[in-house]
């Protein structure tokens, strides 16, 4: 029995189920909602907050391994704490140093793990 047997069956079932969802959506004029959704994302405070946090985390994830781990953690925490307004600049700086030491130094040392 070939390795593509189950993926083929699952793929067909997926097409069937997704197709039924699309048909139902089109039948209830769901495509009109797409414009509304895009506008909501563009104007919504929560969406903007999510995009900034997720974007900043994506940059952090992408840079792990290219910049020393401790430094990239400090940059990540400083940026995100600043954006989330956790305190004044000095508090943010101290919190970022503490958090990056915890994640980049203390935890790997306790678990004896190599750094990315």
């Amino acid at each position: 029995m070939g390795p593509g047997f189950l993926p083929l069956i699952l793929g067909l079932v997926l097409i069937g189920l997704s197709g039924s969802l699309i048909l139902r959506s089109v039948a209830s004029n769901g495509q009109a909602g797409i414009v509304l959704l895009c506008r909501k994302i563009k104007e919504g405070v929560e969406s903007r907050r999510f995009l900034i946090i997720a974007g900043w985390t994506a940059i952090y994830v992408a840079l792990i391994g290219t910049i020393p781990f401790l430094l990239i953690n400090f940059i990540y925490f400083f940026g995100i704490f600043l954006y989330l307004k956790v305190g004044r600049l000095l508090e943010v700086l101290l919190l970022s140093i503490g958090a990056s030491l915890l994640v980049g130094l203390i935890t790997p040392w306790i678990f004896d793990m190599p750094l990315p």
């Binding site: 699952l10 189920l17 039924s20 405070v45 969406s47 997720a54 952090y60 994830v61 307004k85 306790i110």
Partner: protein, 498 residues
């Protein structure tokens, strides 16, 4: 029936109790309970995330200690999620979502201490009853499971995905799509029979997706993103204080407790669904059978007890597919399963024969953690509530970085880090669009087992496929599968999260 086999397992309770009640294991349980309470109380941190983060540490200590630590985190987190639900109307973990409905109104009425007492005792009782059932029933289930062949294992996997998809979300189709996507994700990489690379468009994909980063992303990072995007500050509904045991209320709820325990165990037995669905089913049943329906949603102790007994009893039921078939019953048991594999324990029908007393040992660890959560809940609740004053804007970014580190620790490749984050984004979108995450996780976990079992069964019965279809247990499972399919389609909407 092989009674010797069954009595041998039960006869090991005293010797295993001596091991469990030894100082190092009690110490690990204590540490695990505290960590579990911390992750459970903090919205955005889940039992899976806590356990996944401690996996690396658990492998550096003896197996008995490591399992004690992971199990204590599991029970501690599921229990303490109810405290946050009661005090802030935000479930600390998804398993405590139903507790919000009555816990928060009670706290607003000035009955926070009684509500937390009810959460604590109900959680402890749920855990004890769930594990008791597991201890009694598991030897019998192992005997039945020994008769399972590849075809039956495949059918059991499919039944798991089907039911999980039906119960975990508002819409059955969305649940099934989520489950099938999970199965397809599991098929990325080298397959196990011919060593053929599937969907390996890049060399990093040949190894496939490691499921620990996938779990961290889907359960952990996505939850952090959901919580962090909200700007509304937390507010406690009442003053923190030591919990009070409402004995009179518990006495009136004996029937409710027993029924909820069975609901939790039953749902735990179905692979993949877990405690986040059992609390709703149990709450729904308590509502339907209650004489005081009007109190539900306004501050009913019946509602709290039903939800908390069920979500804790689920861990007992979830152990059954995990240990008998190697198919995890819930997210946390998936981490437990990963730990067992790395410790060299192979869950499956042969487990009780290969390692007599192991199941008893696991059950006793759960019992010890149940005792710990009762004491922690009653003695430390006022301090636990103070943890809620730590700002989530500080805790959650640290938790994200820790999760990334945890994903790295699972395989030491940059691909694991990227996949954890990518699964986090996928999980976030799914949560926003009300697509259940649990079926996808189950699909990822059992995809390879299902695929290998089906193809091995088809290869074995290549000359006589009818012989495969007429195996008695297989017929029973197929009938069950069709009944489930019929009722799911008839119902259209699952009662779970609605």
């Amino acid at each position: 029936m092989n009674w010797d086999f069954i009595f041998k397992e039960w006869g090991m309770i005293p010797s295993k109790a001596l091991v469990v009640f030894s100082p190092p294991i009690i110490g690990m349980e204590l540490l695990g309970t505290m960590l579990g309470i911390f992750v459970g109380v903090t919205p955005g941190l889940t039992a899976v995330m806590g356990m996944a983060l401690m996996l690396g540490f658990a492998f550096r200590i003896p197996m008995e200690w490591g399992l004690a630590l992971l199990i204590a985190i599991y029970t501690g987190a599921i229990f303490s999620g109810g405290i946050t639900a009661t005090m802030m109307n935000i479930p600390g973990t998804p398993a405590a979502a139903a507790t919000c409905l009555d816990g928060f109104p009670l706290a607003k009425m000035g009955k926070a201490r009684e509500a937390i007492g009810a959460v604590t005792i109900a959680s402890g009782i749920g855990e004890l009853l769930g594990e008791l059932f597991t201890l009694i029933s598991l030897p019998f289930i192992f005997i039945i499971a020994l008769k399972f062949g590849d075809w039956e294992v495949f059918l059991a996997c499919m039944a798991g995905v089907l039911v999980c998809g039906s119960l975990a979300g508002k819409e059955v189709i969305k649940g099934w799509i989520s489950g099938i996507l999970g199965l397809l994700i599991a098929m990325v990489g080298m397959e196990e029979i011919w060593a053929y690379p599937r969907f390996a468009y890049h060399e990093v994909l040949i190894r496939g997706f490691n499921f620990v980063p996938a779990l961290i992303g889907l359960f952990g990072i996505s939850e952090v993103l959901v919580v962090l995007k909200e700007k509304v500050p937390y507010q406690l509904a009442g003053k923190p204080g030591r919990a009070i045991i409402p004995f009179g209320i518990l006495k009136k709820n004996v029937k409710n407790i027993i029924r909820s325990a069975f609901v939790g165990i039953g749902i735990g037995c179905i692979p993949g669904i877990g405690e986040s669905a059992s609390c709703w089913v149990s709450y729904d049943l308590a509502y339907r059978t209650s004489k005081r329906k009007e109190d539900f949603g306004k501050g009913s102790f019946e509602g709290i007890i039903a939800a908390e007994v069920a979500n804790n009893a689920t861990s007992g039921g979830a152990l059954i597919p995990t240990l008998v078939l190697g198919i995890p019953g819930s997210g946390p048991t998936a981490i437990l399963l990963a730990a067992l594999f790395i410790y060299g324990v192979r869950p499956g029908p042969m487990l009780m024969i290969e390692r007599p007393g192991f199941v008893t040992f696991i059950v006793l660890l759960f019992w010890l953690s149940a005792i710990m959560i009762i004491f922690a809940g009653l003695l430390l609740s006022s301090y636990v509530i103070r943890l809620l004053s730590i700002r989530r804007e500080i805790i959650l970014p640290i938790a994200t970085a820790m999760s990334i580190l945890g994903a790295w620790g699972s395989g030491f490749t940059h691909f694991d880090i990227i996949s954890a984050f990518a699964f986090g984004l996928v999980g976030y979108i799914m949560k926003v669009k009300a697509i259940p995450v649990a079926p996808m996780v189950l699909g990822i976990l059992i995809g390879n087992i299902a695929d290998t079992s089906l193809r091995r069964a088809l290869l074995t019965y290549m000359n006589d496929p009818l012989a495969m279809l007429v195996r008695p247990i297989g017929i029973g499972l197929m009938i069950l599968l069709f009944i489930m399919l019929f009722f799911s389609l008839k119902k259209k909407k699952g009662f779970g999260m609605s």
